[in-house]
């Protein structure tokens, strides 16, 4: 059983990236980007989340496709919950 051992440098780099992302998202919130504010916020959050999943949770080095499939499945059904609910809320005021 060979487990991938990440170098310390990688962990520190990811940590720094997460901190930068945090600062960036706080800064971006103070700038008027109109409709893009929430998009930027979510994009930064998702980038941070992806970094944590891939490198801290070792998914990048996972032996099996199963691990990734499990994560993708969960995200898919979560988006279905949000998406189809918004299919109702988003269209309620349509005539």
């Amino acid at each position: 059983m060979s487990e991938h051992i990440s170098p310390v440098k990688l962990y520190v780099t990811i940590w720094l990236a997460l901190l930068v992302g945090t600062g960036l998202t706080v800064y971006a919130a103070t700038v008027d980007l109109g409709a893009f504010n929430p998009i930027v916020a979510l994009a930064i959050a998702t980038t941070k989340a992806v970094l944590v999943v891939l490198f801290f949770m070792h998914v990048k080095y996972a032996h099996e496709r199963l691990t990734k499939m499990v994560i993708v499945t969960a995200i898919f059904f979560f988006l279905i919950l949000l998406g189809l609910s918004m299919a109702d809320y988003g269209t309620r005021l349509w005539t």
């Binding site: 199963l66 499945t73 969960a74 059904f77 279905i80 919950l81 189809l84 609910s85 299919a87 109702d88 809320y89 269209t91 309620r92 349509w94």
Partner: protein
Amino acid sequence: MATAVLETGERETYLNKEYGIKSWLLTVDHKRIALLYLMGITFFFFIGGFFALLIRLELLTPAGDLVQADTYNKLFTMHGQVMIFFFLIPAVPAVLGNFLIPIMIGAKDLAFPRINLLSWYIYIIGGMLMLYTILNGGVDTGWTFYVPLSTEFLKTQVVTAALAVFISGFSSILTGLNFIVTIHRMRAPGMTWNRLPLFVWAHYATSIIQVLGTPVVAIAIALVALERVFHLGIFNPSLGGDPLLFQHLFWFYSHPAVYIMILPGMGIISEIVCCFSRKRIFGYKAMALALVGIAVVGFLVWAHHMFVAGISLYAALIFSILSYFVAVPSAIKVFNWTSTMYKGSITYQTPMLYAFGFIGLFTMGGLTGLFLAALGVDVHVTDTYFVVAHFHYIMVGGMVMAYLGGMHFWWPKISGRMYPEGWGRLAALLVFAGFNLTFFPQFILGYLGMPRRYWDYSHSPEFQILNVLSTAGATILAVGYLLPMVYFLWSMRYGKPAPDNPWNAAGLEWTIPSPPSTFNFDEQPVVTWEAYNYDEIEKEVPVAQ
């Protein structure tokens, strides 16, 4: 292939390995845990059935003269909650699934035996809370807990009922988690995905639903409890909250929940139909994919329970079309069971009688679901007895018959005894007759406009004759259900000892003794044959030496 022998000279089985209550309450043997669950779900089936009896008694006459209106609300609420959360959802997976899945894949136990036991304790705790609710005034929200009725207007035991359901949900989640990991990781050498019995595929699909859906209803119910206790007004209309949001979160689980209930039953039917037609399943891949397809598409249709609740028309259209799609894999299964039987060598033992009943009644229930998926029809029959009949056809005509068929099919394996076949057939016929007499009139009643959840229909006394027929059917059904309980118990002492394979069926569970020893197999089997190899079964020795 003899296993250990006890001092008395008996073969050691999972039943006689240890005696005493501690050996049962602290067991990690999946087979004993299955029996612990059997006791629990049978107990709750009686409780739910008792409420059904009172409902049908009240409806014998148009006037509300047996109980008060509020009491009637409690009766149908608790009938629904007990039957769904404490009987239907756990029944097949926690009893038959727990018992059979490790054996069917050639493993010694589930992946997480202690979590399995924990699951049972969580189920019992939830059940005790439900009992407490019942004994302390009951709950009358409807099994669906709709807000703002449940959050603001009722003074009954809403929070304890909500907690009971919340807790039992974790039992369901852990069982699903256990099954998924077991099926992925514990298969014996040679037991590839394409050789798995459809019973196992069915539980895999069910477990996916349990794992993805249950947490959402958990949070929905938790928010209702929080709103009641701490006045967090997430669904409160006077704060601008949306009661429909609760319904979205609730039905996101509760629709897939009906597939949690039916998919294991479909797995059972595949096993039974193949055995008693002496044939391979027709279209194995399609059947397996249909199971997973039902699970996936089942998550896309939930708002068809909300067509008249106030969702947008455009959303209703989307959910209506998606609801038509979900019928397709179910239909494929019905066609394939029928094709399996075509030119098969059919015999009519009790399990097969239940399987026939299932196929016919599930088809009717499923087709009437399509009636309901059509927006125009739904507006007319929603919240009437048409809906009640529809879901009872699937859950009782489908799921309960499958459960009984499975219990009869595997009873020899579980108990080491044969049940009396004559009584078995009689009970099956009584169940079928009683079921149809109970619920077919309800389709007509609903179409004629009798609303559900009404304790008094004196505005339409012409409904009485159909209600009387329905209640009469319910009594026959009750007798049909009581009979197996009596003769199963009888058989444990007086039944004929069962051979390893009384049905000459295919499947690893039939290669080990009845009842099995604690660790199932003497040696790990190495599988080199396809599932349902009925064309080879007399020629090949199943377990590699």
